[in-house]
């Protein structure tokens, strides 16, 4: 195995660290409470048989142990802050630090959701400003910021469709979803009581219009479309698609997962979309947090506004802002309070830092970066769809499979080269997919370094496939046994494990 082409990363000492429970011993503590200024109480007496006897195996550790424990663990993660994280469809862009700073300002971080409106005007102003700007960016008419994540936004959007159609007298039975869609789309439709009907893509990876025309009928509530889709392809027939759906009384839902390809260049509201969600953690730079929190606002056209979840922010006659709850046609609530406010603050800060020209250039750079990677890696990796790419490009492992190497193996080897892998084996319409989304955050130097790594791995596939098949080699842990993890699930630590875990 030769590692001379690995330039971005070098192995270094990595601290070992057990589970927090394994560091615990009685009497250690990392806190000190203020002395109690009211009379002590006897909880056994106050609570009777509802009183708790003990707190089981919660740890007892010191403050420095807490700091070291989590610091050590953090060093085992790869993150955007380390470098390119080309996880397709996830838009792993840089997370500006000013966003973190403003979200932690006293007042914004410490406001209680139920404190009186007159003591919440600043927070309300943020909700209103973000709403207005997202409405302008999407070309829609109204918005709710309540959904907590992308999938939650989908749920809200499909609920809006259903409520809207019901108000017209027929909720209909089915939702059409292209075969390239993210798994959350069909799962969402099912949660709203719709049957899912699969819609095939054509040779260009776009919606097959004849199939859409054949399948779109009075039983179909609408189409859930990701545009650009998960192949990174903008559906050029979008105008026609919207017409076909609308002609049969259906509604067009857009999954905004790939909005990073569109902001400032085109607006879903202008190309016939009736309702859509945004992923603030993708397009609008709020951090992914190791898998949440996200935020999934849903924007819609005027005719769907009455169905938006309660409450909505309104301006009162005296110019102050408030929440309006009295909306008889609303779908109800999808979450308590007003959504992931902290993420909304961050997204607004991002929009303010960019302005109209910055947002447009962000989109342009994201698309340019993806096309640069495509151009440089085409030929080295198989490009199943030749249709122009927007913000991401999907290759397949067809050329490497002749050496017995698959997309998952290439991904693991990429880890040795110091990169986070691309999205593996998705979308499902491409066998052995490598889905690469660089985002606008990457410099040409970082892109070139990634391209060199991908080329070097392609060469390894040919000359020394075992190196790729057994990767990663330079990580703390080698490939993990996921099969046993699922067959005999161990989902929590138990005291007896402490003894057997010693190694």
């Amino acid at each position: 195995m030769r590692d001379d082409k690995i330039t971005k990363a070098t192995t270094h000492i990595s601290q070992n660290e057990g589970l927090i429970f394994e560091k615990s011993s009685p009497g250690k503590k990392a806190y000190r409470l203020a002395p109690l200024d009211v009379p002590e109480v006897d909880e056994q007496q106050l609570l009777g048989k509802a009183a708790r006897q003990d707190l089981g195996n919660l740890p007892e550790v010191s403050e420095v142990e807490v700091i070291r424990h989590f610091t050590r663990m953090s060093t085992w993660n790869y993150a955007v802050d380390h470098g390119m994280y080309p996880l397709g469809s996830c838009t792993m862009k840089y997370n500006p630090r000013v966003n973190e700073f403003v979200a932690r300002l006293d007042g914004l971080a410490n406001a209680h959701p139920y404190q009186p409106e007159k003591a919440s005007q600043g927070a309300l102003r943020i909700l209103k400003a973000l709403s207005e700007q997202l409405i302008e960016i999407t070309g829609m008419d109204a918005i709710t910021l309540q959904p907590a994540a992308g999938a939650h936004g989908e749920l809200t959007g499909i609920l809006l469709m259903r409520a809207c159609l019901e108000s017209r007298g027929d909720a209909r039975k089915k939702i059409l979803i292209p075969d390239s869609a993210h798994g959350t789309n069909p799962a969402t439709a099912a949660m709203v009581g719709y049957q899912v009907e699969n819609l095939s893509s054509n040779q260009q990876g776009q919606v097959e219009l004849s199939a859409l025309e054949a399948q779109m009928n009075q039983d179909v509530a609408g189409l859930m479309l990701t545009n650009p889709n998960t192949l990174g392809v903008f559906d050029q027939q979008i105008g026609r698609i919207a017409e076909i759906v609308h002609a049969k009384g259906g509604l067009l839902y857009m999954d905004g997962a790939n909005m990073n390809a569109l902001v400032g260049k085109t607006r879903p509201g202008d190309f016939g979309v009736d309702v859509m969600h945004l992923n603030l953690h993708k397009t609008f730079s709020t951090p992914h947090g190791g898998g949440g929190p996200g935020s999934g606002p849903v924007a819609c056209k005027k005719f769907m506004e009455p169905f938006l979840p309660v409450p909505v922010v309104i301006e009162r006659a005296d110019g102050t802002l408030g929440f309006e709850y009295n909306r008889p046609q609303a779908i109800g609530r999808v979450r308590m309070f007003y959504g992931n406010f902290g993420m909304l603050v961050r997204a607004l800060a991002y929009i303010m830092a960019n302005g109209p020209d910055g947002l447009r250039q962000t989109t342009e750079d994201a698309v340019l970066n993806a096309n640069y990677i495509r151009k440089q890696l085409e030929g080295t990796y198989d490009l199943p769809y030749k249709t122009p790419s927007m913000h991401e490009v999907v290759f397949s492992d067809k050329l490497q499979q002749q050496y017995g190497v698959k997309t998952g193996d290439i991904a693991k080897r990429l880890i040795d080269y110091g990169f986070h892998p691309y999205t593996v084996s998705f979308p499902l319409v491409v066998h052995g997919a490598l889905m690469i989304e660089p985002t606008e955050s990457e410099s040409k130097e970082e892109l070139d370094s990634f391209i060199d790594a991908m080329k070097a791995i392609a060469e390894e596939c040919e000359k020394e496939p075992a190196t790729v098949l057994n990767a990663p080699h330079n990580t703390r842990l080698s490939r993990l046994d996921e099969v046993t993890a699922a067959r005999k699930p161990v989902l929590r630590w138990k005291p007896q494990q402490a003894k057997t875990a010693a190694e």
Binding site: R52, L58, F70, R374, P388, I415
Partner: protein, 427 residues
């Protein structure tokens, strides 16, 4: 780079967007701002939002002290700029943290397994109810009216198109679930009863008794917990089949309502129906211990429309805050902290009883209590805001029969002086 991709202009790359749909102007949003201007703008908004007030609001969001260690640690880019741990070899930090979180939630709630987290307590409760429906194969559910009203609204939204009738069960004079009404409402089609404890009035339910009644009917008991810190002194709902908890009390800022973190715990035998991510322990090729996302065949990316939920990510960073909080306070600290809450609320209840009527006496409570006043609670709330006190939550909005009553909360952060001042203003 344009040359390298063979394009003459950047717009050539946007050719796939039909001409008529291209935006031919700049977006109509404010121009770029410098970092200094952005900070200034948000400082002004923060100044318009009351803070540093004495806080007597609970009602689903609790004002507890957040040790500074939490933000110091979660501000590490390795944690907050990573994503879902799809590649376990370079995500062990996130995975181990989630595994620890799952374990702590089990220890606290008395459940055998817990997931990696959900959006929040309200959606976790709705998902728990759906889970009970799948487990029993029955077609309707009961929800106590003493469950947080906004949780109930979310449950209604989720249940609406599943064809699931959700009926509500009232409360008695002590604030607990009305047992007679419950027994009447149970039918052979009842999948579960969902309760909250401590409930929206702060009353601790008799979980064991409710479990017995519900189980006799072949139904499941789902317990929602909005104030996680109560578990420091309150017996965990071990008799429940599913627990849906909001972890906000564990080091998560009030943040005007979010982001928070929900979590679902349950019995091992029900694990295949739990929604959301799960992290499990395993070994690598060299036999070293490590952690991976597991049991994903329940999930949307594999099962699509047949998945247990559409949920994709969880609230990993928020769960990490809770994990750090629980590590800092630990086995002794969580109990001591909870005891302080109990003591403050007990003292406050005595003080408020001098000026108003305490409702729902006769059942134990944690850090919230209901005070009925002669004066309209909104008037009180308004007046106190001018004295930099945030008063209790007026109940009339959700419980018309409890007009002139509000639910007040005292945590370790409410001083005796604050309590004396606030209670003195109530009439």
């Amino acid at each position: 780079m344009l040359r390298a991709v063979g394009a003459r202009s950047i717009d050539e790359l946007f050719a796939p967007i039909p001409e008529q749909f291209r935006l031919k102007r700049e977006l109509n949003i404010p121009p770029q701002m410098s970092e200094a201007e952005i900070v200034e703008w948000f400082r002004a908004r923060a100044a318009e939002t009351g803070h540093g007030y004495a806080m007597f609001l609970g009602a689903g969001a609790y004002n507890h002290y957040r040790p500074v260690v939490i933000d110091a640690l979660i501000s590490r880019g390795e944690f907050f700029t990573a994503y879902t741990p799809y590649q376990p070899e370079i995500a062990q930090g996130t995975l181990q943290s989630i595994f620890e979180f799952q374990t702590m939630i089990c220890e606290l709630t008395g459940m055998e397994v817990a997931n990696a987290s959900m959006y929040d307590g309200s959606t976790a409760s709705a998902e728990a109810l759906m889970m009970a429906i799948r487990l029993t194969g029955r077609g309707s559910a009961l929800v106590a009216r003493s469950v947080h009203p906004e949780y109930r609204e979310v449950i209604r939204t989720y249940a609406r198109y599943q064809g699931l009738p959700v009926k509500e069960v009232g409360f008695g004079d002590n604030g607990r679930v009305d047992l007679a009404a419950l027994k009447k409402a149970l039918t052979p089609e009842t999948a579960c009863l969902l309760i909250q404890s401590p409930n929206f009035f702060g009353t601790i339910e008799d979980v064991a008794e409710l479990a017995e009644i519900v189980h006799k009917n072949g139904s499941l008991l789902v317990v929602s917990i909005a104030e996680a810190l109560s578990l420091g002194v309150v017996k965990p709902p071990v008799e429940a089949d599913i627990v849906a908890m909001e972890a906000q009390s564990f080091g998560i800022p009030l943040g005007f309502g979010g982001p928070y973190a929900g979590v679902i715990g349950t019995k091992e035998r029900f694990v295949r129906q739990i929604p959301g991510r799960l992290v499990g322990e395993t070994r690598d090729k060299n036999g070293k211990r490590g952690f991976v996302l597991t049991l994903s065949t329940r999930e949307q990316h594999i099962r699509r429309e047949k998945a247990t939920s559409n949920i994709c990510t969880n609230q990993a960073l928020i769960a990490l805050m809770a994990n750090i909080f629980m590590s800092i306070y630990g086995r002794q600290g969580i109990k001591e902290l909870a005891k302080q809450n109990l003591a403050k609320a007990a003292y406050a209840r005595q003080q408020f009883a001098k000026h108003g009527k305490i409702l729902f006496e006769g059942a134990p409570r944690f850090n919230e209590f209901v005070v009925q006043t002669k004066e309209d609670p909104y008037v009180i709330s308004h007046r106190l805001a001018d004295k930099r006190i945030i008063a209790g939550f007026p109940l009339i909005k959700f419980y018309p029969e409890l007009s002139n009553a509000a639910v007040w909360c005292c945590t370790e952060l409410n001083t005796r002086a604050q309590i004396d001042l606030a209670s003195g203003e109530v009439r």
